[in-house]
């Protein structure tokens, strides 16, 4: 009896403690979330103000009147549709090529044995460490001689074969037990079959990671398009944004409106994929 009562007491104490802890957790999380969102809130609020209100003191987070017309104004000021179309084309192509070829190559690096494997892999890793600025010029000379300058293909080939994708996929594949592949081999599957039927389905999470990473990286890339794309019909959203900032340097409300627009597509991709991102991993039992 006494034993039981004691236990019950302890249970009550424990649950109050855990309620307090949980409440604390929420407070901290919400505070952090607010902190994280501050710049976005400022951005959106600035995009709905008049330009002289943007930097007024003290800060007014909610605009006095909402100037939605800022958003219609920017469409007439910059060819946003062209920019969006170009950026989407590049980002989709790059993401597709990058994911396909790097998961292909990563399978070989993680699960197959061949001469020169380590040397090749070190080549990949080493180039991740080299900042692009240093080999930009030789790369540019090469691209020009291949006739890719000022075409969207320049950015596509530039981004599609980055070493990062191979590196990431290999790390993930390494976490998948080799026994799985061996069992499949005994069952008579070819290596291509193993890649398609075993590795790919198991690496949904990794692929989602890579897709988000590549898509976001390509979408937000500034230097590449700035160097390689010259004519207006070829420009991407980031170059367009920078140009807009230069030409309207004091129109912070409009700059922020364009920024908000440039943000939307990437957010959609993330929201659409994040389900796979988490679930995919939970089902594979993948550790890496």
């Amino acid at each position: 009896m006494t034993q039981l009562a004691l236990n019950k007491n302890a249970g009550v104490r424990r649950s109050t403690l855990s309620v307090v802890l949980k409440a604390l957790l929420y407070v901290v999380l919400i505070a952090l979330a607010l902190f994280t969102l501050i710049p976005f809130v400022w951005m959106i609020s600035a995009s709905l103000k008049l330009d002289r209100e943007v930097f007024s003191y003290p800060i007014r987070w909610i605009p006095e009147t909402f100037h939605w017309e800022n958003y219609s104004l920017i469409w007439s000021k910059v060819p946003l549709i062209t920019y969006f179309k170009n950026t989407a084309t590049i980002a989709l192509l790059v993401t597709f090529i990058q994911t396909l070829t790097s998961s292909f190559a990563a399978y070989a690096f993680a699960k197959l044995r061949f001469r020169g494997r380590n040397t090749l892999f070190i080549c990949y890793v080493a180039t991740i460490a080299v900042p692009w600025q240093t080999y930009m010029l030789p790369q540019f000379i090469l691209m020009r001689s291949m006739g890719l300058y000022d075409t969207l293909w320049a950015i596509v080939v530039l981004q599609s074969f980055s070493a990062f994708g191979v590196f990431l996929m290999r790390q993930f594949y390494q976490g998948i037990p080799t026994e799985l592949c061996e069992a499949a081999r005994i069952d008579g599957l070819s290596e291509y079959g193993i890649w398609a039927r075993i590795m790919l389905p198991l690496s949904k999470a990794a692929i989602a990671t890579l897709v988000i990473f590549t898509f976001v990286g390509t979408w937000n890339d500034y230097m590449g398009p700035m160097i390689y794309l010259t004519r207006d019909v070829n420009k991407t959203i980031q170059v367009g944004l920078q140009r807009f900032i230069q030409e309207n340097s004091s129109d912070y409300h409009l700059i922020m409106a364009v920024s908000v627009c440039s943000l939307l597509p990437v957010s959609v991709v993330f929201l659409a994929l994040q389900k796979y991102f988490i679930q995919g991993i939970a089902t594979t039992g993948l550790k890496g």
Binding site: R52, N86, L93, I141, R144, T230, R231, V239, R243, S249
Partner: protein, 413 residues
């Protein structure tokens, strides 16, 4: 799901095919310039040239001004064949010349009997060992802009073409009141201390910067008095000087002549609506009134161009009298100054009509902002770094200048 994927892919291919179509070429001259979309004089020049040269089209390749050095450097380094490149900084021109990107011009000048006298000698800044590599078509010197309405409202006399820096500082403080700043300094080194080269003796590459202290002290005194917005705030907000002046709460602004065309445009499209004028920048006691400093803008022919003769026709026209008149109509100051050009400048639509503004069009001396030398770009990096330390008050003026002297001495070897 698979059908959707196939559809997406199909759409993608179509988009791709459409985006990759190449534009057709005619009798076209490609000219690489910065902010081509928004610069009024480039538009005026293009129209005037195409009108007098039927069948020729000028196509600008627009590069954002902040990326101009990076992008043009890569283009030229990569063997780009655009015909003409605008020269933004003299140091760029030297680098390009050293790398062999620029077509030497002496043979063209001789063959066409081109008369360089209209440049009054400033074209020599674009010459290396007696060979001309580019022609200047803009020469901007610094003037003092002021907001006439603010002076009228305060009942204070307008600035004049003959003011010392002390008189200017006094005026700035007098004009400062609630919500109005007496003057405005953009964050650049040139806006604060480049006045030092107005005397025709000092340069910013000679390795001795002790004289800059005078201008830093002048600035800090004004900043402390609240007569100008603080450097730190301007930096953090990234405020553009045009926005600052157009806001209408700044009484004076020392700025390059190019701002005249910006102001004319701003008044025209209704961005701002006050009366303004220009006068010569202030001077030190021992320097002649009307002395200033400035910078050149030019055009060069790409050594890899496939239309060199047409390109020569273009740049010689651009820098010569006709092109200069086209340039001057927009309120921009050409490098070639003849009587016809001067009267075009003064009668540019929207240019202030008072006599002082007209008189300010003719400086008595224009020093070069940073003259070209082997070390110009390295020195200017050092000066800008130390400038930011002094302006943020991390360093005292003495400390900053001592470090400028020391570091530049090291570069000069």
């Amino acid at each position: 799901m698979k059908k959707a994927l196939a559809l997406i892919l199909a759409v993608l291919m179509l988009l791709t095919a459409a985006s990759f179509a190449v534009a057709e070429e005619g009798q076209t001259l490609t000219v690489v310039a910065w902010d081509a979309e928004t610069t009024p004089y480039l538009k005026a020049e293009k129209e005037a040239f195409e009108a007098t040269h039927p069948g020729v089209t000028i196509e600008y390749i627009d590069v954002a001004s902040q990326d101009y050095a990076t992008k043009t450097g890569t283009m030229l380094g990569g063997g780009d064949t655009s015909d003409v490149f605008m020269v933004k900084e003299i140091t760029d021109m030297l680098n390009w010349q050293a790398a062999g990107y620029e077509e030497p011009l002496n043979s063209y000048i001789e063959a066409s009997g081109y008369d360089l006298s209209g440049f009054a000698g400033i074209e020599s800044n674009y010459a290396v060992d007696g060979e001309q590599y580019a022609l200047p078509f803009r020469s901007d010197f610094w003037v003092l802009f002021y907001n006439k309405d603010l002076f009228d409202a305060a009942g204070v006399e307008y600035p004049t073409n003959d003011m010392t820096w002390e008189q200017y500082a006094e005026l700035a403080k007098k004009m400062t009141s609630d919500g109005v700043y007496g003057t405005h300094y953009h964050t650049w080194l040139s806006a604060v201390v480049n006045w030092d080269v107005c005397d025709g003796v000092n340069t910013l590459i000679d390795g001795n910067y002790d004289d800059l202290a005078y201008f830093y002290e002048l600035y800090q005194d004004l900043e402390d008095a609240g007569a100008c917005q603080s450097y730190n705030d301007l930096k953090a907000a990234g405020l553009h000087y045009s926005a600052a002046f157009e806001n209408g709460n700044v009484a004076m602004l020392p700025m390059g002549y190019w701002f005249v065309s910006t102001m004319i445009g701003a008044i025209k499209d209704g961005t701002c609506s006050f009366n303004w004028g220009i006068v010569s920048v202030p001077h030190k006691e021992d320097v002649a009134a009307g002395s200033s400093f400035g910078n050149l803008t030019g055009a060069m022919i790409n050594a890899k161009s496939e239309h060199k003769d047409l390109a020569w026709e273009y740049i010689s026209w651009l820098a010569g009298e006709e092109g200069s008149i086209a340039t001057a109509t927009t309120g921009t100051r050409p490098a070639w100054v003849s009587e016809a050009v001067a009267s075009t400048m003064a009668s540019a639509d929207g240019f202030p009509t008072d006599d002082a503004s007209k008189a300010a069009l003719v400086p008595v001396y224009v020093g070069i902002e940073i003259p070209a030398s082997e070390h110009s770009s390295e020195i200017s990096t050092v000066l800008n770094e130390e400038h930011s330390l002094i302006m943020t008050r991390e360093y005292s003026i003495e400390e900053g200048i001592a470090e400028m002297n020391e570091r530049v001495a090291e570069i000069l070897g």
